[in-house]
């Protein structure tokens, strides 16, 4: 883990019209860690993700990814930067007119010199790596169940072996066994590829199983950042309730 953070957010403010989502938000994400983002519903976890990947223009403040400020890059540099991260959206956001395999091949086609044969082989490999049966590659997203769609979306996010992976609620709506498999997969990939993972989640089990650090969002900024043990000591009602509540306790076995 190098000292230079992979994402550095300073004094971020985002707003929809007059509704302010974040204000004075600071956050550093270190290279090679899995950071979990939690917080009450509607506190702007997904908006933060959208702001980092450039889908939502911040109203004030700065976001640096890989040491670069997104809005200051010219389109070419931005393209190069964008291929270094992969994003998995909450409901998959697969292209519905393409098969799963073609979905995974889209970023490869757009950003690399891979030939069609190798591209197909790699896509099939990613699909299995994400835990799908190989024949799922020929299906269309509308033929897949919700869990399978998430896996397909993960396969697409991993298509270019990104250094930085954004996952928005990867385990929401999955059965516990599949969710646990997902956690193991993310952890394994992180180890062997040295991934940095930005993980938005509500799933306490996922937090325990995968995350190195956790950032709690609330009241328009980051309430606390740290390991689970550090967060337990944070004197904030929501944080206390989160880890001390029945679900939080169940996950640790206390």
């Amino acid at each position: 883990m190098s000292a230079e953070p992979i994402i550095r957010i300073r004094d971020l403010k985002t707003a929809y019209g007059s509704h302010v989502v974040h204000e004075h938000l600071d956050l550093d994400i270190r290279r090679g860690e899995i950071i979990g983002i939690i917080g009450p519903s509607g506190c702007g976890k997904s908006v933060l993700l959208r702001a980092i990947v450039g889908l939502k223009q911040p109203a004030a403040g700065s976001i640096e990814v890989f040491g670069e400020r997104l809005e200051k890059l010219d389109p070419d540099e931005r393209r190069t930067l964008e291929r270094r991260w992969g994003v998995m959206f909450q409901d998959g956001a697969l292209f519905s007119n393409l098969t799963v395999r073609e979905n995974v091949m889209v970023p490869m086609k757009e950003h690399t010199s891979l030939g069609p044969q190798l591209r197909t082989e790699l896509a099939d490999m990613k699909i299995r790596l994400a835990g799908l049966e190989p024949d799922a590659g020929l299906k269309y997203p509308s033929d897949l169940s919700g869990g399978m769609r998430k896996r397909a979306a993960l396969a697409r996010a991993l298509a270019l072996d990104p250094e930085l992976l954004f996952l928005d609620e990867p385990t929401a709506g999955l059965d516990p066994i599949t969710a646990a498999g997902f956690d193991t997969l993310v952890r394994q990939l992180q180890k062997s590829l040295g991934l940095t993972v930005f993980l938005v989640t509500h799933d306490v089990d996922t937090l325990y199983a995968t995350c190195d650090r956790i950032a709690v969002l609330g009241e328009k900024h980051v309430l606390a950042v740290g390991t689970i043990d550090e967060l337990r000591k944070v004197d904030h009602p929501w944080v206390q309730e989160y880890f001390g509540g029945p679900r939080g306790r169940a996950a640790t076995g206390h």
Binding site: D124, P141, L160, G194
Partner: protein, 377 residues
């Protein structure tokens, strides 16, 4: 990003082994460079892959190495192994090995005469099924509408009025505008031709018959087919895609009553109104040309129109309007409800909806023409 080195490999044969030495970065950006050469590789002896000189590696690189291992293992009949030290290669290749079995290709489609016949047959049966389904939908809609009209308190007046505004009132300016210009064009053509015989005054009859009987109502139908059909199909199709239709059913709401009936009723009421305005606008266009280009005073024009064009012509035109409206809205709703899960099917349904509506309007208009001719009107 740090400097990258293109991937390279070298094959060294010793007495017992072929050793493949890897160098450079084996990442997704560059692995294509060695892909072809690696596929050609066919060592006769058991193979070892030396990863000690390897730079960076990701899953794409690991996959290519693993594929080479598999090919070597099946070719030489003995297991290939990885030798040499590398921070991540061994673990990553092992991880990829678990998921990299080649996927069998799906059976290819048959070509030739047989397939052509099969497709023709399927297409024909498709048209039959489509016609039956449209008629069934017409029947279901009519039953629903009649039942609702006999119990007017069950009608959804809010949505009926909303559709009337959105698809009727809002379409008025464009329809009036287009019809006005078509009326002008018809008058000009008539005037140029008729002036050869010094019969310019018959432009009035020309405008009267064509506008009252055909142009007003057909133009309305065509604008509705383009404007209303696309919007209805897209609306309903999106509701279908987002499972709103399913949600309605589970809440005990009938899509027929909630979605289809209000639109049908609104359009059957509004189309004659639109057609009426279109006819007036068309005649106004004719009057304008008559006045400016032919020196026919508007008062004379209107007087002649009243005397020489029977009112029957107006009713012939108007009688078609509700039918056109009904046909358009039926096709729009049916196509909307036909949408499946993908964006592509939404696009296809919208196209089909507009094309079918245009086709039906022209075809039905021709049928009406034959029908009224037989009646002698």
């Amino acid at each position: 990003m740090a400097d990258t080195f293109p991937p390279e490999f070298a094959l060294e044969d010793s007495d017992e082994f072929s050793t493949l030495r890897l160098a450079g970065d084996w990442t997704v950006a560059h692995v294509q460079d060695v892909d072809e050469a690696l596929r050609q590789l066919a060592p006769a002896k058991p193979m070892r892959i030396d990863v000690s000189g390897l730079g960076r590696i990701d899953t794409a690189g690991a996959f290519v190495i693993d594929r080479t291992l598999r090919a070597a293992a099946s070719g030489a009949g003995s297991d290939a192994v990885i030798v040499g030290e590398h921070a991540t290669a061994g673990r990553l290749i092992a991880q990829i090995h678990a998921v990299s079995e080649p996927v069998p290709a799906p059976p290819a489609h048959e070509g030739g005469v047989y397939a052509l016949l099969e497709r023709t047959g399927k297409g024909f049966m498709g048209i039959l099924a489509e016609s039956v389904a449209t008629l069934a939908f017409l029947g279901e809609t009519l039953i629903t509408c009649v039942r609702l009209l006999s119990q007017p308190w069950k009608l959804r007046w809010t949505s009926i009025v909303a559709v009337m505004e959105e698809a009727g009132l809002d379409a008025l300016p464009i329809i009036a505008f287009l019809s006005f210009f078509v009326g002008m064009v018809v008058a000009f053509i008539g005037a140029t031709t008729l002036s050869d015989f010094d019969l310019e005054i018959y432009t009035v009859e020309l405008i009267g018959y064509s506008e009252l009987r055909e142009f007003g109502v057909v133009l309305t139908g065509i604008v509705l087919a383009g404007r209303t059909n696309s919007s209805f199909t897209a609306q309903i199709g999106t509701m279908k895609m987002r499972q709103e239709i399913d949600a309605m059913k589970t809440l005990g709401l009938k899509p027929m009553e909630v979605i289809v009936a209000p639109r049908v009723i609104a359009m059957v009421v509004m189309t004659p109104v639109l057609a009426f305005v279109a006819t007036l606008a068309g005649i106004a266009g004719g009057i304008m040309v008559g006045w400016l280009a032919l020196d026919i005073n508007p008062a004379v024009f209107i007087e002649r129109l009243r005397n020489s064009v029977p009112i029957d012509q107006f009713w012939v035109g108007m009688s078609k309007a509700p039918v056109f409206g009904l046909v358009c809205v039926l096709i729009a709703c049916r196509q909307g409800l036909n949408v499946g899960g993908s964006v592509q099917s939404l696009g296809r349904a919208t196209t089909t909806s507009v094309v079918q509506a245009l086709f039906s309007i022209i075809a039905i208009d021709a049928l009406f023409a034959v029908f009224y001719m037989e009646l002698g009107i």
